[in-house]
Amino acid sequence: MPSGALLFQSLILGVLLGGLYALLAAGLTLYFGIMRVVMIAHSAFLILAAYLAWYFHERTGLDPLLSLLVTVPLFFGAGVAMQRLLLARLRPMTLTMMSVLLTFSVALAIEGTLGYVFTGTQRRVRLGYSGASLEFFGARIAVVKLIAFLLAAAAMLALYLLMKRSRFGQALRATIQHKDAAQLVGIDTDRIAGYGFGLGLATAAIGGTALALDSTIYPSLHWHWIGPLMAIIVVGGLGSVPGAAIAAMVLGVLQAVLQIPFGTTWAQTVFYLALFATLAIRPQGFFGGRLAQRF
Amino acid sequence: MTGGLETVELTKSFGGVTAIDAATVAFQPGKVNALIGPNGSGKTTFFNCVTGMIRPDSGRVRYRDHDITGRAPHRIARAGIGRSFQLCRVFPRMTVLDNLLVAVRAGGLRSSRNRAEMERARGWLTRVGIDHLEHAEARNLSWGQQKLLELAGVLMADPETILLDEPAGGVNPALIDRIGALVRELNAEGRTFLIVEHNMDMVMSLCDHVVVFDRGRPIAQGPPAAVKSDPRVLEAYLGV
């Protein structure tokens, strides 16, 4: 029987982790909403960003957070380019399937390149405040985890405002909900799709930096992330950003709590069980997202 | 002939938008029925509900006095309802002949190179007039040829009732006439038709019974002439 303190501690860890999951899942579900593309390379870019943050820190000795100034615009550009130069070329008929393979191949290429440049060695950013933590109602919150969480939260908020308030956001949501209709009212859906992709990769950049703060990274780490993320976006309802965010929080916390009785490895399976349950019971996902049924 | 295709209180909505709103319609068996209405009046959604492509939220679909609501599309097809798709759909990377053979009620590992069925298929190809393209891949056909191929495919399944979604969509006048003639012949052979069409000339010249849809529900039905002069129809179309 786990003590209340432990439960509380795990809850907090779960929330902190869930925040990061939420941000990344938001990006992943965004691509799908815009183009019906399952972006396998999302987590590979995440790791790439983490490596850049680490490398930046190693070289300059400055705080890895500063690397965001470079990576975010860089990744945005990469996203636009990727959508325009690669995904736009695929036949609409087989887009969903082929895009999976295409992004998969990108993921492999990134993993291989990282391994070639930085070797397979596990890396970790060394910060003065790595071990520091705050007292919070008897539980302890590591400073680095807190920063990572706040970073993710801020990014989510920014994304939300962008989608709800800006004209671009409206166009984006229109494209997601009904592409043809969007075109009819004069939205250049291709351009929007490109920017949407850039936006998705930007979230990967932020997530990667947050990840680098408090975690070890190695080239093949992205497989460790893509699974849970994909499960999250299905549970949340493919293409629904809020759905993904909610699912991420729920599953993140669930995982952290389940680790108490079952241990780390078994706890990870919660994502996949949720995935299979969703597809068996409610293929369109639990939190909105009408698209899933058809894709 | 009684008990053709009919719907009772059929309703389907996507998110907030109601595509079909408690539509109760009965089509005349053995006749050429038309389903017309302005864009977005729910015609295609109605088709999809009837043929099982989408499951309606409520209401019933009945065919020859059987309730077929929510049945799987292939079972509805086997019950004798064939359909074509808006912006015609064929199997692009299959030969014209195979496109037809798909519709044959046969499964298992026996060879699909069955003489009898192939002859039947050639028969339909000759009938629609693209028999010379037998071995071509469907994707190499022109738009018009694909329209004819799709029709031949539907016929290969030998349905009593045939739903055509915009058969005249985007084809040249000559071909429209050809299709019209074909429909009339087939109807004479006892097949019931339900046609969604924007080309009013075709509707008026071809159809015996017209149902007008607006905002997901029938607002008028009857013989072409009567419907044409119905004020509600004019309002729906012209928004007078």
């Binding site: 399937m97 899933a292 | 990377r93 499964g107």
Partner: protein, 342 residues
């Protein structure tokens, strides 16, 4: 007449191919080449098995690595834990995997496209976790050692025997694929690949078809996995349940041409040889990942139909039969007033 001559040629080519395959073990200059041959034969079976789903229905599965792993571990565990004779275990394991494939297929195939791929990948990842964590049964990360079926054999002989076993399995897979390809069932499957709604509207029971062919594919994959376990002897979750295995299957099938009987086989020969070559030349870098990635990307972007159609169309261009005439017809028709309706 042209028909007859071509049949003769086809049979001749097949005979030559078969002869080459059968004589390979005796031609192989050393055990290493022989073992490489076994690996490539294994790839050939896997990609052909994958192609039952990928080629016919057009559903791209990245999760066949999981079925491969299940077949391997199933066989291994039946031998080690239940003391079953090696080849009884092999078929029993395949049967079990076939049964498991039903619920898996049910979850994966009910929804189209994206969700299918996601499930297929998730399958690999979850099985990896399970087989790692359930150490008491699977041996966890200590791995599972599968005893040799023929203890007496020296290593080279061991390789030769298994090369033939894989060859037999490959033949069986090809034969099955060929049977389905020419059957009514196969026609329905191809219709699903081309346009699932349309196929359904014409009366094809698409879900049942997809499920059946998925199970067939799973069975052959599992058999291949089982043979691999008996040949290789050491199973480790990390290497048995690897996404890469599935990726290689896809790459090989696509490269060769998914709509052709021998496509996956050709792909397996090319990719399998390329991997060995890469290992010999650039062994000490992860560049083989980059190469695999780039190759996959190129195939997807520029020849999604694979090399065989590429060659065939080339062949057609020179000795083109009737097809050309159609093109003219279409051209003529296209000039007639058309255009997408609104």
């Amino acid at each position: 007449m042209r028909n007859a001559s071509s049949r003769v040629l086809r049979l001749a080519a097949l005979a030559v191919g078969a002869a080459l395959v059968l004589s390979f073990p005796s031609l192989a200059p050393n055990p290493y080449i022989l073992s490489a041959g076994v690996i490539i034969a294994n790839y050939a079976v896997l990609s052909t098995a994958w192609n039952f789903v990928g080629g016919f229905t057009g559903y791209i599965s990245l999760g066949h690595g999981a079925l491969f792993g299940l077949g391997a571990y199933g066989t291994g565990l039946l031998v080690v834990r239940a003391g079953a004779p090696s080849f009884v275990a092999l078929f029993a394991a395949a049967a079990i995997v076939a049964l498991l494939a039903v619920p898996i297929g049910f979850a994966a195939l009910r929804v189209r496209g994206a969700s299918f791929v996601i499930v297929s990948i998730a399958l690999v990842l979850i099985l990896l976790l399970v087989f790692q964590s359930w150490a008491s049964f699977t041996g966890g990360s200590n791995g599972l050692v599968v005893p040799r079926p023929f203890p007496g054999l020296l290593r080279p002989e061991h390789h030769a025997v298994f090369f033939y076993l894989f060859a037999v399995l490959l033949a069986a897979a090809l034969l099955t694929w060929w049977l389905i390809d020419r059957s009514w069932f196969g026609l329905g499957l191809k219709a699903i690949r081309e346009d699932e709604d349309k196929a359904q509207a014409l009366g094809t029971p698409t879900f049942a078809y997809k499920l059946i062919v998925f199970v067939v594919s799973a069975t052959f994959t599992a058999l291949s996995g089982g043979l691999y376990a008996l040949w290789f002897g050491d199973l480790d979750p990390i290497f048995q349940f690897s996404i890469l295995t599935g990726a290689y299957m896809v790459l090989m099938a696509l490269l060769g041409g998914v709509r052709h009987l021998f496509g996956p086989l050709v792909g397996a020969l090319v990719v399998g040889y390329a991997l060995e070559y890469f290992k010999l030349e650039y062994g000490n870098t992860p560049l083989h990942l980059v190469a695999t990635g780039l190759l996959l990307g190129v195939v997807v972007l520029f020849m999604p139909d694979g090399v065989i159609p590429a060659f065939t169309s080339l062949y057609r261009r020179f000795f083109g039969p009737a097809e050309s005439s159609i093109r003219e017809v279409t051209a003529a028709e296209l000039r007639a007033p058309t255009g997408v309706p609104r």
